[in-house]
Amino acid sequence: MSMNSTQRSLSGSAQSPRSPSSQPFLSVSVTDPVKLGNGVQAYISYRVITKTNFPEYQGPEKIVIRRYSDFVWLRDRLFEKYKGIFIPPIPEKSAVEKFRFSAEFIEMRRQALDIFINRVASHHELQQSEDLRTFLQADEETMERLRSYETGIFKKKPADLMQIFKDVQSKVSDVVLGKEKPVEESNPEYEKMKHYIFELENHLAEAQKHAYRLVKRHRELGQSLSDFGKAVKLLGACEGNALGKSFSELGTKSEALSIKLQKEAHHLLMNFEEPLKDYVRAVQSIKATISERANAFRRHCELAETMKLKEINLDKLMLTRSDKVGEAEHEYNELKAESEQATRTFENIVKLMNEEIVRFQEQKTLDMGIAFHEFAKGQARLANGIAEAWRSLLPKLEACSSIVNSSNTTEQT
């Protein structure tokens, strides 16, 4: 099973299966990666197991097979629908490693996907998502249909295309009307938060980079110890006698420690480097939400502007008692509804983001605390293993040393 049961059980409203079934719970796990297909077409499929007592779900347990692009689909849908919420990140696409599909890569991806789906399942808003239900329950054919529809050329729905067109239009009119800067919120607290997020990404990326290097160093040191051990053993075989034995023992110990180092390298990767990487992704996700908020704000402003113009126009028409009044009034009302909608959307995003940032900071302190603890534990375990290995060698060295000394003194006499 996954190594991050701690993370799952600590998140939001999901309770451990041991609690009374009257408590609502939704627990998901991503397991059993299997490589399917050949060559360029190859992909990994995962088993997604859902256990729940939510009434909207088909039953207490459901198992489906999903692949990476399904997760991408889900995330995209959530991002569209739940603007303002920091959607949990998924691992990167990584076109290069896909070909090699090393065991380590597969495990890292599986762990990241498992964390993703659990965060979604334990978020009080996101867990209500219909798309999530589809993802967790739909049969594979349906999933495939949905997935290909989304990733087709016409990924954007007509409404979105219209929106893009309108955005361009408004940008042009901005320039024409002399408004060179895009409209932005003038909220000092929000500015501070944005600055914080952007800076944080830089710092975290650096820490993650060094964490990754540290993993590599462990592997390199492991290799050095192994090579050193082998060479020492050969020297021991050549020397012979008590000295040779000492060399052999040392060489053997060195090789044994090499294994410990490789183990720790893996542990470090999964339990320290990956959480840091995950943190970076989360921050990037927030940046996307910030972008969405900016869009929503612009739209709200533009519609408000347009509405004012339309109002002025309508008044003019009413004064002149034109027959276009009816039409204009109808248009105006439509516009007003749209504008109010846009304002509501924007305000909703602001409200959600304020809640989300609190939750985010809490979540991250927790996630990092666990990661740091695992880091410390792993390093302590390694260091103690090393200390014990070398200490255990000393009595043997002492014994050999006295043999060497006695044989030397007899030679001298």
Binding site: N241, F247, L250, T365, G369, H373, Q379, A380, A387, L397
Partner: protein
């Protein structure tokens, strides 16, 4: 060579971040104290002391008695031993090791140091203005040898590298069969590539090492050549190695005499027999010895005198076999040191990244969760920085211990030279033996031919007389060569014994030192991480 890398790490990090690092650590007073306490060489525990017998040294920060990681045997912590055990690399005073194994009384000492390199002008009558510059080094000696003028003598001379080459050559002649330490390279390529100052400094270090090795050799330390080198001020009164050209000239003069034979043969300097054939001077001899060695190797005729000492042959074989594995270990040791260094560096960089994060979160904090996280990150940074320093210490010591391997690789070269001395001496003996055999058979032939002629053959009889004279001279030469061969054999034997003994002791103590160092480092590192694990204990509620 490896010491440079440690310094580079220090220089690569900007001062600003060093200060940041310091400030992070100083916030935790108990830790800062324990750390600096270890760096003071207050306790000089030499490697030869048995750490298992010394009283268990408890060490301060971090190691809680309840820690499950203490073994139930509760051995003494090697953590202290690790820092205090070896002499610092800059203090070249390593007389503790040689004196513990040589049979000299502890009061006999010969301590040499090399310092104060200076540029000087060559005083020649050259037409080129400015002339040649070269560097001289101040060689300071402290000794109580009687030959040097009694107890408590201290004196200095200035020597240039050329003088060292001369010394080395003279020793090679006088101490054939001994394992003579190899002198530093002339290495003209390096001197052009490197900065002058750096190269001269490197050479100074190498010279000091070389002279110390000479001083540690039980036979050579008493040599007149060394004494002259160390004591006599002004120009070095040792014969410089003659260049090939003058040798050739000498040889050209002697060659006709050698070829013709006759009375010139009688004037052969017997002492020259004791030396290997040198180019130019001894052309004839070289031809003869070459012929002999071809006979030995290719023709398959067993020479009259052979290497009979099977024990020696066995030991020699063993040593030849030893070279490759030793070289491999030496190489892997360097690789290991590099890996340890890289680990330390990356750990340090990670620590710094977390220091920056801590600072950032602290400054920007709006929520308490951020402050908590900042505090956690600071703990991580502290641990990582400490671990990084420990790695650096580990490496300094590792280099010191494993340097023995490199040293012995160099010694193998000395051994090889000593065995060559023996081979060439043997070859001389064989050549002279063959010469005698051939002379005797020619005399016999002459006598037989002469006896067939009634009344004798005046010419042949004269020739026979000459040959008999040659036989006598050759026999004397052979006696000399035999003596020399025996002498070298004995030197080989005693040196081999000394080498085996010292090598075993040195390697054993190297292994012990290495292991103690590693164990101590690991213990200290474990304490650092255990502390961090404790500090972040609260996050682990449901997991095992």
């Amino acid at each position: 060579m490896m010491n440079h890398e440690n310094r580079d790490y220090e220089e690569a990090h900007p001062h600003e971040s060093q200060e940041v690092m310091e400030s992070v650590l100083l916030d935790d007073p108990s830790d800062a104290q324990s750390f600096t306490g270890h760096l003071q060489p207050s306790r000089q525990v030499t490697v030869s002391d048995d750490p298992l017998l010394s009283s268990p040294l408890s060490f301060t920060a971090g190691q809680s008695p309840k820690s499950p990681y203490n073994t139930f045997l509760d051995p003494p912590s090697y953590a202290e031993a690790m820092f205090a055990s070896s002499d610092s690399p800059t203090n070249g005073h390593e007389t503790s090791e040689p004196s513990s194994r040589s049979n000299l009384s502890s009061s006999d000492y010969l301590y040499i140091s090399v310092s104060d390199q200076q540029k000087e002008q060559e005083l020649t009558n050259s037409l080129v203005p400015g002339g040649n510059t070269y560097y001289t080094y101040l060689i300071t000696t402290k000794t109580n040898f009687p030959e040097y003028g009694g107890p408590g003598s201290e004196f200095s001379v200035r020597r240039r590298f050329r003088d060292v080459v001369t010394l080395s050559d003279r020793l090679a002649e006088s101490y054939r069969g001994y394992f003579i330490p190899i002198r530093p390279d002339k290495s003209t390529v390096e001197s052009q590539v490197m900065q002058k100052q750096e190269f001269v400094e490197q050479r100074r270090v190498a010279l000091e090492k070389y002279l110390k090795k000479l001083a540690a050799h039980p036979a050579i330390r008493k040599s007149e050549e060394l004494r002259v080198f160390l004591e006599v001020k002004g120009k070095l009164p040792l014969i410089q190695s003659t260049d090939m050209a003058s040798r050739m000239l000498d040889g050209a003069v002697k060659l006709p005499k050698q070829l013709i034979g006759g009375e010139a043969v009688g004037t052969v300097d017997l002492n020259e027999v004791a030396q290997p054939a040198k180019g130019g001077r001894d052309l004839l001899r070289i031809f003869k010895e070459l012929k002999q060695s071809v006979t030995n190797d290719w023709v398959g005729t067993k020479p009259l005198v052979v290497e009979e000492d099977t024990e020696f042959t066995e030991r020699k074989e063993k040593l030849i076999e030893l070279k490759q594995p030793l070289s491999d270990v030496s190489q892997q040791a360097e690789s290991l040191v590099k890996s340890q260094q890289d680990m330390g560096e990356t750990m340090g960089e990670l620590g710094l990244a977390f220091v920056k994060l801590t600072k950032f979160e602290t400054e920007e904090a709006i929520f308490d969760t951020q402050r908590t996280r900042a505090a956690d990150m600071r703990n991580v940074a502290t641990a990582a920085v400490k671990a990084s320093r420990l790695y650096r210490e580990l490496n300094t010591q590792t280099i010191k211990h494993l340097d023995k391997l490199h040293e012995y690789l160099s010694t193998m070269l000395s051994v090889s030279n000593a065995f060559s001395d023996r081979s060439s001496a043997l070859l001389t003996v064989q050549t002279l033996s063959s010469e005698l055999v051939s002379l005797h058979s020619r005399i016999e032939k002459l006598e037989v031919a002469s006896s067939k002629i009634f009344g004798g053959d005046k010419t042949r009889m004269r020739k026979t007389e000459e040959m008999k004279k040659a036989v006598r001279v050759t026999e004397n030469a052979k006696l000399c060569a035999d003596r020399e061969y025996e002498r070298i054999k004995e030197n080989n034997r005693s040196e081999l014994e000394r080498f085996d003994r010292e090598r075993q002791n040195d390697f054993m103590s190297m292994l012990r030192g290495f292991v103690v160092n590693q164990a101590g480092f690991a213990e200290k590192t474990a304490a650092v991480w255990e502390k961090l694990a404790e500090e972040t204990n609260g996050y682990l509620r449901d997991s095992s």
